[in-house]
């Protein structure tokens, strides 16, 4: 009889402790007292473990209830409107990239990271130690510092397209300007302001998989990007709203071409100049507003300049300082 009473008292006390724990005002003093109660008698610990098991069941019941709720909500949504179709950009496999994969690494002594660089007008692909591939655009610099538990790289300038091999145990992390990108295993493009010529310090475009972008100095909540989504970040580490993009445009540089659709001439020139040995300039600022649509070779500067000349009625005049100045023909 006494055993029954003790068991019953322990059961009641366990329920009281659980209720107190979940109250929102459980203090350190309460926690200490609870620990003393728990240790005071084996029956206490036994009673508590029964309530913990109950707790687990109740949490599972909550999750199940939520699941039904969510199902109902989702089904209502599907019935209410026609299924939306998302544009999934088609992306060629990286394996089908250039035939030559050049992996020239500047091996430095010991602890120093590996560093890969491309000169102005040069593009190159490097295969990293884990089999991931980084394609570097013109004027880019990438440092690789792989450690046992983490694959970390730093994009110091320019632009890189990554195709990351999956390794759940070793996350792939890219530092770029004000941002940090955590990769779950995917293909994505990272461009610094030096490559885009835009105001934003960093642009991340995801071609497949999922990446998580956060600010190096935790100035904003991390954003999760899925394939076809892009995020730009200011120099201060502020993220702009996510947008969708056409994957074909992002990977163009790797194929040695640049495509523009109604792009102002000044932006076109800024991008082409990243690759051209003879920089283009405009005779007048007003010319910069002229919209350009078309595809240009990044490697054959003469052909691209001729295309610009004939499409826009311009003349390219070589200058003594090495620049090519574009002048309107009309006047």
């Amino acid at each position: 009889m006494e055993i029954e009473n003790r068991r019953d008292a322990a059961d009641r006390a366990a329920a009281q402790w659980m209720a107190r724990r979940d109250s929102g005002r459980f203090s350190q003093a309460d926690a200490d007292e609870f620990a003393r109660w728990l240790a005071a008698h084996p029956a206490h610990a036994e009673a508590w473990s029964r309530y913990e098991l109950l707790d687990e069941h109740l949490n599972a019941a909550t999750a199940l209830r939520f699941e039904r709720e969510l199902e109902t909500l989702a089904n209502a949504e599907v019935n209410a409107k026609p299924q939306r179709r998302w544009l999934v950009p088609a992306v060629g496999a990286v394996a089908a990239m250039g035939a030559a994969v050049i992996a020239i690494s500047v091996m430095t002594d010991g602890a120093k990271p590996l560093s890969y660089e491309t000169a102005h007008g040069e593009r190159r692909e490097v295969t990293l130690a884990d089999g991931s591939v980084a394609a570097l655009n013109s004027g880019s610099r990438l440092e690789v510092a792989f450690a046992g538990d983490e694959r970390r790289v730093r994009l110091l300038s320019g632009e890189a397209l990554f195709d990351v091999t999956r390794d759940a145990g070793r996350p792939f992390v890219v530092e770029g300007g004000p941002g940090v990108i955590h990769v779950v295993g995917t293909q994505f493009n990272v461009a610094l302001a030096s490559a885009t010529g835009r105001d934003e310090a960093l642009t991340v475009s995801v071609l497949s998989g999922v990446v998580r972008v956060s600010a190096a100095r935790e100035t904003f909540a991390a954003a999760m990007l899925l394939a076809g989504e892009r995020l730009a970040m200011t120099h201060a580490g502020k993220a702009l709203p996510k947008e969708t993009f056409d994957a074909a445009f992002v990977t163009d540089w790797r194929e040695g071409r640049a495509r523009f659709a109604e792009t102002p001439l000044r932006d076109v020139i800024a991008e082409l100049n990243l690759h051209f040995s003879q920089p283009l300039a405009l005779e007048s600022a007003a010319l910069g507003d002229v919209p350009v649509t078309g595809t240009f070779s990044l490697d054959a500067q003469d052909a691209s300049v001729s295309a610009l000349e004939s499409a826009l009625q311009l003349t390219a005049e070589p200058q003594a300082d090495g620049r090519l100045v574009l002048t309107g023909n009309a006047d």
């Binding site: 724990r21 979940d22 005002r25 029964r50 098991l53 599972a60 969510l70 091999t165």
Partner: protein
């Protein structure tokens, strides 16, 4: 390339994420009442499923996404329930009170039948007891908040919760006769 997920599986997962993102986020915001918490949970869902998919075949992406989301939302509410006061004057401070790693998609240790029964038994509680219990469990409200909503004292709310726990424990008797869990350091969870 070891352990690489088939690109087909990757694409199906992405499509499922995309199709369900709006609804998931809407539901999470409604459930958790907070956009930041909802987005945090949403990100954890993506990461967790992605990691899981690297070593597992996924037959029903949507079901897995929903299950993971509801499990993580439940975890969030559990941790809210277990906020505790460091000192009597301090702001309620959230402590690492729950398992650091919540239920994973593959974790299915509890019998669905038992869980259904638990749901039914909660429905059989007296209205005020049930209401207090659900506000605590399904919305992570503190007893002070529940007291305000129900127009009763905080100590009454605590009594309702104790009553609910004792009744459910008596009616459900989880694990009875099957096994008595050894008490572990898990008791220090509080």
């Amino acid at each position: 390339m070891q352990g690489e997920m088939g690109s087909d599986q990757g694409q199906r997962l992405e499509a499922a994420f995309r199709e369900n993102r709006t609804i998931l986020r809407k539901w999470l915001i409604g459930r958790l009442g907070d956009v930041t918490d909802a987005d945090d949970v949403l990100q954890s869902v993506y990461l967790r499923i992605w990691t899981y998919a690297e070593t597992n075949e996924i037959e029903h992406p949507r079901a897995l996404i929903f299950k993971t989301a509801t499990n993580l939302a439940t975890n969030e509410l559990v941790s809210r329930r277990r906020r505790y006061l460091r000192t009597s004057n301090a702001e309620a401070d959230e402590v690492e009170a729950v398992r650091a790693v919540g239920p994973t998609p593959e974790e299915q240790s509890l019998l669905r039948e038992d869980i259904q029964r638990a749901l039914a038994e909660i429905g059989n509680l007296k209205p005020k007891v049930r209401r207090a219990f659900e506000l605590s469990r399904l919305e992570g409200k503190t007893y002070a908040e529940i007291a305000g909503l129900l127009g009763v004292s905080e100590s009454s709310v605590e009594k309702y919760i104790i009553e609910a726990l004792r009744i459910l424990r008596a009616r459900l008797r989880p694990g009875e006769g099957a096994k008595i869990l050894p008490f572990s350091a898990a008791g220090a969870r509080v």
